[in-house]
Symmetry: C2
Subunit: 458 residues, 2 copies
Amino acid sequence: MSNHEDSQDFDLRLEQLAGAIERSDAGAIVQLLGETEGDDTALLIDRLEAEERSHLLQLLTPEQAAEVLEHVHYFQGADIIETLPPERAAPMVAELDSDDRADLLKELSKRDSKAILQALAPEQAEETRRFMAYPEGTAGAIMYSEFVSFEATMTVREILEDIQKHREDYIEYGVQYAYVLGPRGALLGVLPVRNLLFARPEQAASEIMIPDPITIEAETPVNDLENIFEQHNFLGLPVVDTDHRLIGIVDRESSTEALQEAATEDLLKFQGLMGKEELRSMPLRVRSRRRLSWLSINIVLNLISASVIAMHTDTLEAVIALAVFLPIISDMSGCSGNQAVAVSMRELSLQLVSPREFGRVFLKESSVGLINGVCLGLLIGAIAWLWKGNAMLGAVVGAALALNTTVAVCVGGLVPLLLKALKQDPALASGPILTTVTDMCGFLLILGLASLALPYLV
Amino acid sequence: MSNHEDSQDFDLRLEQLAGAIERSDAGAIVQLLGETEGDDTALLIDRLEAEERSHLLQLLTPEQAAEVLEHVHYFQGADIIETLPPERAAPMVAELDSDDRADLLKELSKRDSKAILQALAPEQAEETRRFMAYPEGTAGAIMYSEFVSFEATMTVREILEDIQKHREDYIEYGVQYAYVLGPRGALLGVLPVRNLLFARPEQAASEIMIPDPITIEAETPVNDLENIFEQHNFLGLPVVDTDHRLIGIVDRESSTEALQEAATEDLLKFQGLMGKEELRSMPLRVRSRRRLSWLSINIVLNLISASVIAMHTDTLEAVIALAVFLPIISDMSGCSGNQAVAVSMRELSLQLVSPREFGRVFLKESSVGLINGVCLGLLIGAIAWLWKGNAMLGAVVGAALALNTTVAVCVGGLVPLLLKALKQDPALASGPILTTVTDMCGFLLILGLASLALPYLV
């Protein structure tokens, strides 16, 4: 959609797709989607009416529907699947890759995902339940169970025959590693497919594999995976259970992607969306409700900090000029504190600070806070002085901003560490805690100092 | 550093490393770093004193120093390189991969990077300058020039001999594709190394390659790359110039990583760090200056919106209770608007909205804004009424919040699109623009409405 022609072309295709859905013309739909590139598919689906999206999937075979689901974002897919009866949705979900299937079902309501799981084949349902149970940010949440394995006793000739037979699949799925298994499915080694180039036909898999490979567990944090991938240049890592049986693979791509998702979610949480995906194609009441849930918490926090002002209206009445500086104190302290929050979040995610290093962070932040507080305080103090010609007003406003900036920067640096140490999500809660503390403290400082200096202010 | 024992072990290693640096014992340093895993290297380097870091690199050979640089984050590396004289830094920089070299030099001051470029071999310096010139977010900024190519006339036998000869490098670098070049270096095809498994020794490279492969240009946006990678399961994409000569490779990993970096940078920019990396190990004056540069813009914007209050002090003086609601109006409208900013940023990055769809976004946002505005307005209006027993105060405060929330949500949804359409960075400027507009508008609304209703308020 980067220029006018593209945009006309897109509108035409959207019209054709909507028409084909109306005519229930599955052939035309498949052809249209087949001609559409990558992200344009997601956009086409996004721009259909909710009923059209639902109708579209029902017109296709489960395999075709699954392919559509794999081309849209998982939360878009969940949005459509939710509108289908479970017995229609289940065959489509069954066709997805194991990791995509778990991602999609996790987005659904408990009731919907339960109904679909019950309609799946028992073995697949059990695997999916297990995959869904792994917490976000662990290897289990991003691994897939579709891998190629050979028994240790197979020869290179037998393996090459197998590869020739399934050649199309191997190229389609870009298989780079095969896994060599011993008795009872225990992982013995990794066989980079390229190594077959340098092997003699009569050698056994166990002779040319990389023995005792680095393995991870389903509980391994994604952050640790990135380190292993960076150090060893692997493309995939085998995930094993406590009996050293191979249960899945994590590839480098999904590991990096998971970190990207986490960074984007942090942004959404900071901006007050509580990490829930919102697309403008979702129903109005869903969008409004998701946003209100956060706003209603925030208004309570705002009322708490505003109560500090309400308790000092006599001071304000005496020196009305102070009212001009209340929002400035609140906003500037919030900004200074948020900078420290961002640095702490970044250092935590790069593992350059441990959640228990309060002393170090306090020392590093209090010095920056003091310097920046004094600079900002002098500036705003001078402006207040010049505006009203009252030096004491300048001193009160400037001192309040300087002190509160120092407090805000220290609190901002420490809160993410504290939340992390308490196993809470720093991205979600740091902002509101910071704002409430610094607003209350800031209002107390400026109004408290003003009431002390009242004789010089009026 | 996840438990006490790890932390003791880390402190011991840090002490040993500092000791080895003091004794100028290069052997001990190499051994210590060799025993240290992945991200722990970055942490160790982070916790040294600035002079120790500088001394450390100078004790090592350029190859060893480059390896250290590749194990720390590029902005950490730039921080150390900056402390070295250019003639010492250049040989280390020369040993880096082409993409890492450009990333690191881009972080340096103009003067430092120029001095190091002059000390590099002319050919390498020219390539590095070209790599540094590609803008962030394009293929050029993440491609590397280290690739394996064969002439089209070479036979499979000759290629396999070459591979056997350089086997160590191939495995170390995880080479997956080789590139087949025609006369004058024009790219003819891609040869997945695995394909050699299915070839006869006498076939020519041109017979077993994938001809006319998908290529990109250095200017191709990273967002488009992700689409190609997802659709085709490629691990790398060849970058060609206007004469179809191969100038570099972008791998899937770096493409995803670049998107992750961009998401993290967006968070830093939103939080007022202007996208500049800050680590607490950096000097105090650098940290303070980087943060102040943004705070000083923000304080000016704050003064502009506070001037609206200053012009209405007579109304405030008459109804001092309004002062309590000014920071609430400011903060709540900011929150509501930021939610809309986040949705627009997300839809822009997923390419689910084009920067010119103002009408669609306005329609979608104004409805959410109105609903949430009315909810929040009723709540805050009721509280104001109950607090002061004055229904008109409730009406003024509630109406101001309701109207301003609607404005804030529309502005928040539209500003990122507008900035994107103007080729500006939405992450950097959306927040300040939103806050300034909604503060001014909110203060005008509450104080304007109050002055109209003044007889009923006092």
